[in-house]
């Protein structure tokens, strides 16, 4: 039965989680020496399928063959023994150990004595042959995210992986680092290794793949060769309908500044400087995008602007009112809308009804004295829930019954229905499927068209580029420059994101 061309063959894989079928009779074949993309929206079942292959999950049914041999993995150890390596979205490295130690950690060969010198030599050889530039003596905590990813890849090739699975590897990289990664992957492919590339980013998939498998809602949609398809066709298969790629961004009348930030500094949770002398403003009718690699002060910026973190210097001004170090209540009352990065932790109360979340910034308007008029409040909640397309049978249901996209739409409904003069949107589409992303971006542009100011903090550069009027790039808590989106060069933004270029306000 087995086809010798396939290094991996998965047939009829079924994997269910409570309430969802993550993989519904999926077939997947990986050829020797190809880069095979697994494309799909969040929750389509891509990572689950690869976790099944990697021995993390045991499927309810279906069979897996590796190199023609039927296998049944109990743990990733078994998969590694079959020369399969997987690089997860979240790296599994020990920060306090150096590169060599991390690479050889857990190997069976170093049971009694660890031969670090020869390991180091082999790591050096492997690194240079694949162009995986890392210093074997460096500690993990000293490395950038891109370098840490290289260590993960080194770990896999050191274990002689012939099959490499990468889960959304570019999510944490700058454009230039992504380019390096692609170069490495091509090199590995030329060496005869087979690579599974999990992604929901169409551009990347079109750039790197030989073959593309598309999943949607846990089902296999298509298996195509890159040369036979197009971005538009892939998007359609992924979402199940036509997708509009170009959002119209008509010119607007730029109004007064609604947010002015000057020389702002703040600390992160570990009491280290997270924001350094940040200054910018947002005017009515414009979207200011804050671009940057994750962890460069974006979270702290959003915290400070919404009254949830103290500043160590500088001032914040909303519509002429000084709001430096005020409580969230005062900022809410100034009609500032906020779409938090952490929807479940900061944005919503998952255990309470949808109703409570819909009115939590508005309930004081529905009260007479100490009493809250739940009848009026329910009418309001029903109204905004339907207006913003939150799909739920009943607003009395617990909020946790909503899907990811609907959770975000609920936040959007709550914030935008109050007609905010300033909207702080932090990673508004992260983790959402293409359909929900499209709707949410259109809503942000609507706000802009209505003369509201939007501060868009996003790690998705495509999003920043397609929505912003001006782009501020943040690196290690500093604004490296604020440039006009019209004339922005991707290369410049990439360099600023990496901290190697500064540009003035254009």
């Amino acid at each position: 039965m087995a086809n010798d061309d396939f290094v991996v063959e998965m047939r009829d894989i079924v994997k269910t989680f409570p309430g969802v079928t993550a993989n519904d009779h999926i077939n997947f074949q990986l050829h020797r020496g190809e880069i095979h993309s697994l494309l799909g929206e969040n929750g389509a079942g891509k990572t689950t399928l690869m976790n099944v292959l990697y021995g993390m999950y045991r499927p309810e049914s279906g069979e897996i063959r590796v190199n023609g041999k039927r296998v049944l993995f109990d743990s990733p150890q078994d998969a590694i023994a079959m020369r399969i390596g997987m690089i997860h979205q979240h790296f599994m490295l020990v920060p306090a150990m150096n590169v060599t130690e991390n690479v050889i950690l857990g190997l069976r060969s170093n049971r009694v004595v660890v031969d670090e010198a020869s390991a180091e030599k082999r790591i050096g050889d492997l690194a240079s042959s694949y162009g995986l530039k890392v210093e074997p003596h460096s500690f993990i905590w000293q490395l950038s995210v891109g370098e840490q990813q290289r260590v993960e890849i080194l770990k896999a090739v050191y274990r002689e992986a012939h099959i490499l699975i990468l889960d959304e590897p570019t999510a944490v990289l700058t454009p230039n680092e992504s380019k390096d990664l692609f170069r490495i992957l091509r090199k590995m492919k030329d060496e005869g290794k087979s690579i599974v590339y999990i992604s929901h980013k169409l551009e990347e998939v079109m750039e790197i793949s030989d073959t593309i498998t598309v999943l949607r809602n846990g089902k296999l949609v298509a298996n195509v060769l890159k040369k036979d398809t197009s971005k538009v066709e892939l998007a359609k298969m992924m979402v199940g309908r036509e997708v509009v790629f170009t959002l119209s961004k008509p010119p607007t009348k730029i109004g007064q500044p609604v947010l002015q930030v000057s020389n702002l500094s703040a600390l992160n949770d570990r009491k280290m400087p997270a924001l350094r002398n940040v200054s910018f403003d947002v005017k009515g009718g414009e979207i200011l995008g804050i671009a940057g690699v994750s962890g460069n002060g974006q979270r702290e910026l959003a915290d400070v602007l919404t009254g949830r973190r103290k500043v160590t210097g500088g001032r914040i001004n909303v519509c002429g009112t000084d709001v430096t170090d005020v409580t969230p209540r005062e900022i809410v009352d100034l009609n500032v809308g906020f779409i938090p990065e952490d929807r479940v932790g900061v944005g919503l109360i998952m255990g309470l009804p949808i109703l409570n979340n819909a009115i939590i910034k508005k309930y004081r308007d529905f009260s007479k004295g100490p009493l809250l008029d739940y009848r009026v409040a329910s009418d309001y909640a029903k109204h905004i829930v339907s207006e913003y397309g939150v799909k739920t049978p009943n607003i009395a249901y617990p909020t946790r019954t909503l899907s990811g996209g609907n959770l975000q739409k609920l936040i959007l409904a709550r914030e935008l229905a109050r007609d905010p003069t300033l909207l702080v949107a932090s990673q508004p589409t992260r983790g959402l499927d293409v359909g929900a992303t499209e709707e949410i971006r259109a809503k942000l542009l609507d706000e802009r068209a209505r003369g509201r100011g939007v501060l868009l903090i996003s790690e998705d550069l495509d999003e920043i580029l397609s929505l912003s009027d001006r782009i501020a790039v943040i690196f290690q808590g500093e604004i490296m420059g604020i440039i006009d989106a019209e004339s922005a060069k991707l290369e410049d933004i990439g360099l600023m994101m990496a901290g190697s270029k500064r540009m003035g306000e254009s």
Partner: protein, 352 residues
């Protein structure tokens, strides 16, 4: 084969009614074993239990006498737990309320009832509130864990009360470690002649009604539910989390304080070192069994009162050891908590 536990997306409505009933039945079945081993026919034992708790007017009024402090303590705890202020200190707050209220009640001999009773109640409330306020302030300002402070506060307060009653405030007439008798004008009126069914029972029910209104109808209740559900999100939405937690703790302690002064003014007529047999601790169990809901807490308190009153009666009528009565109380509560689990989770057998 393996057992899989899954959280239900929505708590099962059918089960939330069936579970307590089935749990109670299961508990009675399990308890039948020790009763039988104790030399009593379980059916006879249970008949005596029911008769002793609700079998006649006097038994029923006595059940209500226990119901009142249990209900107040259950509500006190449930209110605090609603905003995740883990007040384990209702017992100490009960004693503090009883102490402060009786400090007035003992010397209020010339004050008419119409003034004396409300003043005594307010002082009882304030006493309990004060004993809950400091752990709340320590939690909000310094992040001191309130489970520790409220729990240890119980011991501090019960020993403080003992020190006062064994020392300066010993009953001068009898020499017992109890306060002088309180003024007649501060006694809660008896509402059913020939029984101990006193005003405090009605007050407890009114407090239960107020709890319902607070949780279901007021802004404050909305805020407390929000804080309990997700403190960070509530703060980000503009709710003054610290203030509401302190307020909830104060009201919670105050309600426990009402339970304390209720025991003094309705039953004991002295401040005593054994004012409560652990109502404050049972209140925690009642709040959990009642799933923090107003109606649930009322039902759980009544069930608890029936069990306490009924097992005492069974002990007297059949001669089963007193320890057995307490064992049965424990078994029933455990079964109820397990039943509650099944309304939220689903357990499945799965083939591997």
């Amino acid at each position: 084969m393996e057992l899989v536990v899954e959280k239900r997306l929505l708590p099962s409505r059918r089960l939330s009614i069936a579970a307590p009933v089935l749990s109670t039945l299961a508990a009675l079945l399990i308890s039948a074993v020790p009763i039988y081993l104790g030399g009593v026919n379980p059916l006879y034992g249970y008949t005596q239990l029911l008769r002793g708790a609700v079998g006649n007017k006097l038994a029923l009024t006595e059940t209500f006498v226990i119901f009142a402090p249990l209900l107040l303590c259950g509500i006190a705890v449930a209110l605090a737990f609603t905003c995740k202020f883990w007040n384990i200190g209702a017992e100490g707050q009960l004693y503090c309320g009883g102490l402060i209220g009786s400090l007035f009640a003992v010397y209020a001999t010339s004050v008419p009832s119409i003034i004396a009773i409300p003043v005594m109640m307010i002082l009882g409330f304030l006493g309990g509130a004060a004993w809950a306020a400091w752990p709340a302030i320590l939690k909000v300002k310094l992040k001191v864990d309130e489970v520790v402070t409220t729990l240890l506060g119980n011991w501090v307060m019960t020993y403080a009360v003992a020190a006062i009653l064994f020392g300066p405030w010993k009953n001068p007439v009898t020499g017992w470690p109890e306060s002088p008798v309180i003024s007649d004008t501060t006694n809660y009126p008896i509402l059913i002649e020939g029984s101990r069914f006193h005003l405090g029972i009605i007050i407890a029910m009114l407090v239960a009604l107020a709890f319902y209104v607070i949780i279901r109808k007021t802004k404050w209740g909305f805020e407390l539910l929000g804080i309990g559900g997700n403190q960070t999100a509530s703060y980000a939405a503009g709710i003054n989390v610290s203030r509401q937690i302190i307020l909830a703790a104060i009201v919670s302690g105050g309600i426990a304080g009402l339970a304390g002064i209720g025991q003094v003014a309705g039953i004991e007529f002295h401040m005593k070192t054994d004012l409560s047999p652990g109502f404050g601790y049972t209140g925690v169990v009642i709040a959990m069994v009642g799933a923090l809901s107003p109606i649930g807490v009322v039902l759980a308190s009544f069930l608890m009162a029936v069990i306490v009153q009924g097992t005492q009666a069974m002990h007297r009528a059949t001669g089963v050891p007193w320890a057995l009565a307490e064992t049965i109380q424990g078994i029933i509560l455990l079964c109820l908590l397990v039943g509650l689990f099944f309304t939220k989770y689903r357990v499945k057998l799965r083939m591997r």
